[in-house]
Symmetry: C2
Subunit: 253 residues, 2 copies
């Protein structure tokens, strides 16, 4: 066991987009799997938390890429917990080719919740001082922290879609990564022929469920920078509730 976990991945051709580089959604999935493997090795993964009626819920994430790994790249994801507070842990990631080339970084924030009450759970009360021995405070993660993502009431409704079976994760909620896929699908292939994704942020607000209709509101917030608010409407209701807010920043290529 190590403060910094290191897990191997490959940019398989069927996980790549038409630029022949890894899809952002697959990369974030790999990061989430790496985080889960690492926390599981340390005894505070999904399996243990389930046994005490708790669950890690992702609260925010930011991923910033120098470039996306090209098809067939063998890379590893390093992951470490930078800090743990009462209700949140900050876990960082680096994405590094097996040849040492750095592709990008991630900063994710998790909350612990009680699965019976759905309320935040006190990490210290459950784990005492256990986590502090695994904190890695020195390793740099040179990207900005994830934010709450600013978006105004001027954002325009650009797409609605119904969620389905493959949108749902092991907990019965809309998969965190599927929101990213749905947001990136707001731009077409022509756009992606001329732009690469520099940074993605998601601030999760409330959990969606299969059958929810998602309404996506888009606002340009800077040069090549956009915010998207995703509202969810449960079946048989009219009430729209905010599910998450996303930021996407592109580079010209």
């Amino acid at each position: 066991m190590d403060k910094i976990g290191k897990y191997n991945f490959i940019a398989g051709p069927f996980h790549c987009d038409m630029s022949q580089r890894l899809f952002m959604g697959y990369l974030v999935n790999d990061m989430l799997n790496a985080a889960d493997f690492h926390s599981d090795e340390h005894g505070y993964g999904v399996t243990y938390m389930n046994s005490v009626h708790k669950a890690w819920v992702i609260s925010r994430l930011a991923v910033e890429m120098i470039e996306m790994p090209p098809m067939y790249t063998k890379f590893h994801i390093e992951t470490w917990v930078e800090s743990a507070m009462r209700y949140f842990t900050n876990r960082n990631f680096s994405v590094v080719g097996n040849d040492g080339k750095v592709y990008g970084y991630g900063r994710f924030v998790w909350a612990l919740i009680d699965t019976d009450t759905r309320q935040p759970a006190d990490i210290n009360a459950i784990m005492g001082d256990y986590m502090s021995q695994w904190l890695e405070k020195e390793k740099p993660c040179p990207i900005a922290r994830s934010s709450r993502v600013k978006i105004s009431e001027d954002a325009q409704l650009v797409r609605t879609l119904d969620t389905t079976y493959t949108d749902v994760d092991v907990n019965g909620h809309i998969n965190s990564v599927k929101y990213i896929d749905h947001v990136l699908d707001l731009w077409n292939l022509e756009w992606y022929k001329n732009h690469t994704i520099r940074r993605v942020e998601v601030a999760y607000v409330s959990e969606g469920h299969q059958g929810d209709r998602l309404a996506m509101y888009l606002e340009q917030t800077g040069e090549l920078e956009y915010s998207v608010r995703i509202m969810k409407v449960a079946p048989d209701t009219e009430e729209a509730v905010e599910a998450c807010r996303c930021l996407v920043a592109f580079n010209n290529c």
Copy 2:
């Protein structure tokens, strides 16, 4: 190099559905990646074929599962070419846990095409007798071959959807696996709480492109067995062209 390639995978929690077992789409993606790694090791993978203006195009696939690997299962996919004819190769798969437990099998058929003319290419003319040394004719793959998938004109339109950026593969076509995801999304979570997927077949007819609208026609063809025809309509046209036909067979659980 070996006639039978063997590649390691894990049913990461973020690749699993709400029954906490691997999504069929991820498994087929793993199979496609395994096939590509294996053919690449033998010198007839995507990279070589690109260099001579050829491409492997999947023609049909069948996957039949005893059960889906549960979350965290470490498994390997074995893959071997059973036979190679003038225009087609038959490649088989087994999905086996690292503890030896057999989860299921696959039978895929690939065609070789000329990427300049989009016409079938003669495998023997390009590779001579090279492939024959790698054929593995003895290893059993105890599931029925993939079929053309029967579906009648009585099939009912059940869903239309627009294809987007994340539907498109490295060749600029609608990803073979995304058709499977879209078909499986025709059933809701309640269905999947009571049924597992026994068998999936796809017969690919013509390639889709981003922006195509897909129209899905469903017909029940047996007890717990369904066929789906997917028609595609390109933007700015009215003409519907068949993209593929799928079969899905379920078990009660």
